[in-house]
């Protein structure tokens, strides 16, 4: 029952976040479509938002009983998270289609500040490199205490404690470190790219400060994730979680980060994101070979998304999807 309620809570959280989503973008964007200023507050705009919420909540209501009656734990969580996301994504795509007739032409004028940016990622080089040093030190510690390590160690934890184990082999032990080092590398590169490879929209001073705060929050969240990976995972020291509360720490950190991101979104800043609608596939995937930026602001959700016309984006995507799979293969 606990699992079912937890799954339901996930579903509701996804619904609440997505329901509030139309507020979390520039005021001249609605469902990833550039609209005239003030359109969102107009009767037509409000009706579109209302319809989006009705669609999303209707799908959530249909999904809720299925989540409450799961055959097993795994499917319940998967259904709650993937099903919930799919429902709201469908609502978003339908709403976007309904918004397209109201689209406004994108302003062809671009403005930029003619000054170098001395801005660095939060914490500087130390924040970017220290997680690798921590992982290397921990791997070396494992090497030194190899004989004392038990023959089997846990690799997965459920609510009741460890529920999956693997044998002690060099591939399993050091493979985990390598996997987490790669994950750290992806997170920290994304943090660096958020500061150095994302477009800065020139705006009045107060708005520019807000934009800088938003950018640093995004980068800080990714750096925090890298540090959690390095310090809390892989859980090999003494065969227990290095930080027994790491998953909860991770969840708490993500929650705090999300609240901070929501508070500093672009809802008060006019001027759009200076990207053209035709480069947004389904309003979610940005593909613009003319744009040198690797990261652009998301039009659906918070933070930044990759420019999929840039080959580096595909390398990063392959790493994000492939590295955990590789880790699982190594352990098995």
């Amino acid at each position: 029952m606990t699992i079912a309620l937890l799954s339901l809570a996930h579903l509701l959280l996804i619904a609440l976040a997505n329901s509030a989503h139309p507020r979390w973008t520039h005021p001249d964007l609605l469902f990833a479509v550039t609209v005239p200023p003030g359109f969102r507050a107009s009767p037509a705009g409000a009706a579109l938002v209302r319809r989006y919420r009705q669609l999303g909540w209707a799908g959530t209501a249909l999904l809720a009983p299925v989540v409450l009656l799961p055959p097993r734990l795994g499917p319940a969580f998967l259904l709650a998270i993937l099903g919930g996301l799919a429902v709201w994504l469908a609502a978003f795509v339908l709403s976007r289609r309904a918004t397209l007739p109201y689209a406004a032409p994108v302003d062809p004028v671009r403005t930029a500040a003619l000054e170098p940016r001395p801005e660095e990622v939060p914490g500087g080089l130390f924040a970017l490199l220290a997680p690798f040093a921590v992982l290397a030190a921990r791997a070396y510690e494992c090497h030194l205490s190899w004989e004392e390590m038990p023959l089997r160690f846990p690799i997965h934890w459920g609510l009741q404690g460890p529920d999956r184990w693997t044998a002690k082999t060099p591939a399993a032990v050091y493979g985990q470190f390598a996997t987490f080092a790669l994950l750290c590398a992806v997170m920290l590169y994304m943090a660096w790219a958020t500061v150095h490879r994302a477009r800065r929209i020139t705006a009045p001073a107060s708005a520019a400060r807000a934009q800088q705060r938003y950018r640093r929050l995004s980068a800080g969240g990714l750096i925090g994730l890298g540090w959690i990976f390095a310090l809390g995972f892989p859980p090999l020291d003494n065969m227990t979680l290095t930080l027994p509360y790491a998953p909860f720490l991770l969840l708490a950190m993500v929650a705090v980060w999300l609240v901070a991101m929501v508070r500093s979104t672009w809802s008060d800043m006019p001027g759009g994101d200076q990207t053209a609608d035709q480069h947004w596939r389904l309003g979610v995937f940005y593909v613009n070979p003319e744009d040198p930026a690797l990261l652009v602001e998301k039009r659906f959700g918070l933070g930044w998304t990759l420019n999929f016309a840039n080959p580096i984006s595909w390398v990063l995507l392959a790493a994000i999807v492939g590295v955990p799979l590789l880790g699982l293969l190594v352990i098995r």
Partner: protein
């Protein structure tokens, strides 16, 4: 103090690199930059404007050829103290006069009034005297 801004219009026929050259040169002539100041690196300006790196690199190269910038440095482009060039030869002076007339004709055709053009020209002239 706000940094000098550059504006380009992707919808007009003038190539983007030429718009960048014109805008940056205007700031340089107006004294918005002192010798030793840095312009943003090519990659940064290209990303902020959403144009190809080569477009900005070409604009910087033209300005370097004109003697405004030193591109040998690693961080961006260094603004140079530009010596006053020799007075333009008669052919160049005629070209200048023709281009100015063409520009005036273009803006008049676009609906800009004569008093407005005159006002802008006087402002430019005052800037030159200063």
């Amino acid at each position: 103090m706000l940094p000098p801004l550059i504006r380009i219009d992707l919808s007009i026929a003038t190539p983007v690199y030429r718009q960048i050259v014109d805008a940056v040169r205007t700031h340089l002539v107006d004294g918005a930059f002192a010798p030793g100041d840095h312009l943003p690196p090519v990659r940064q300006l290209a990303m902020d404007l959403g144009v190809h790196f080569n477009t900005v690199a070409e604009a910087y190269r033209i300005l370097a050829e004109e003697g405004w910038l030193d591109l040998k440095r690693r961080r961006g482009a260094l603004v140079l103290r530009r010596g006053v060039p020799r007075p333009a030869d008669p052919a160049a002076a005629m070209l200048f006069a023709r281009r100015l007339r063409e520009l005036v004709a273009e803006v008049r055709a676009a609906g800009v009034t004569r008093p407005r053009i005159l006002r802008e020209l006087l402002l430019v002239a005052k800037g030159l005297e200063a």
